[in-house]
Symmetry: C2
Subunit: 169 residues, 2 copies
DNA sequence: TGCCGCAAGTTGACAATGGCAACATGAGCA
DNA sequence: TGCTCATGTTGCCATTGTCAACTTGCGGCA
């Protein structure tokens, strides 16, 4: 299912695409260019990805896996800092994750995974925490706020939960 | 300086572009299509905008003006809610503003304008407040959090400043 | 008043892209 | 040994951004 003529084209194309996106962002990804870099003809990728969107979606999925891993076994302040740190380490990827192809089932699932950690969704406190770190990350990436770890710590420390922060587990 | 052959092409193209972006987002904007809708030849817009990016940038500038207006004379909780409300009312535009052409001088200026209101920049508390509302807006637009005004209020109410919130003016 | 320059628009061309359709190839099973 | 179907390939098309060269007509100047 993986290795036929090429060896593992799907992975090769994905890798090429990853590089392109990491360097130039969403707009920098061209299916044809990815094919070129993988050493195949311009249409070969379409055997593995329905269209450009699908390729993007795969990249996004990858990203959420990584983010998920980066957040594992962290909680409280540490969790928030790890979240921001991830964004700063993979700016384009992070950006893509939150502005790429919307409404993807698999993607939604991974989303949930990654953020259950923050107590997300219906829980207002969790949502607030998530919003805080997410907004901070975005604004830093946008160049609107400083990116020094010290500043990040200070900002995250400037807020606290209003009521009792409900940590279930 | 404005009205020559067409009447006011710049405005017409801008209007067309605005509509396209509002309906389909960043990717939905095509210079040629905008020209078509303005009833001119495909290259006419280039007399008014250096390239696609420049057109986008103009749209972004517009957006910040509007956002600025929407935030005027508001403070505290009300400010935050207005910020989120703006994002929900102009989803694509808001998105564009924070992921469009980066590193634009004029744009930076308007940025500053819009968020001085939130006490922004070096001030950690202001940055935190901004991060909170911005993150919330983004996550709602992304479909990750509920969009009901009640929920928004609850989330914003779930956080408070850790130390004395320094409101200068 | 009549002419002319320069901004505003137009036409035509090019390379690149996403995507479709028809064809080629070779790995693995019967 | 030979067939089949996934994997790749070749050609093709419409669309797009953008450049270059040409046209048009408003407004100032002689």
């Amino acid at each position: 299912m993986t290795t036929y003529h090429h060896g593992d084209l799907r992975a090769a194309v994905l890798a090429a695409a990853r590089k392109m996106v990491e360097k130039e962002g969403l707009a920098g990804l061209s299916v044809r260019e990815a094919a070129r870099r993988a050493g195949v003809s311009h249409n070969a990728p379409y055997r593995h990805f329905a269209d450009r969107e699908a390729l993007l979606a795969a990249l996004v999925a990858e990203g959420f896996e990584q983010l998920n891993a980066a957040l594992e076994n962290r909680a409280g302040r540490e969790l928030g800092e790890a979240y921001v740190a991830f964004a700063l380490q993979h700016p384009q990827r992070f950006r893509l994750m939150f502005s790429g192809p919307r409404g993807n089932a698999e993607l939604q699932a991974r989303f949930a995974d990654s953020f259950a950690a923050l107590g997300a969704d219906a829980d207002a406190a969790g949502a607030a925490a998530w919003s805080l770190v997410h907004g901070l990350a975005m604004l830093i990436l946008e160049g609107r706020l400083a990116s020094s770890p010290a500043f990040v710590r200070k900002v995250l420390g400037a807020m606290r939960f209003a009521a009792a922060p409900q940590r279930s587990a």
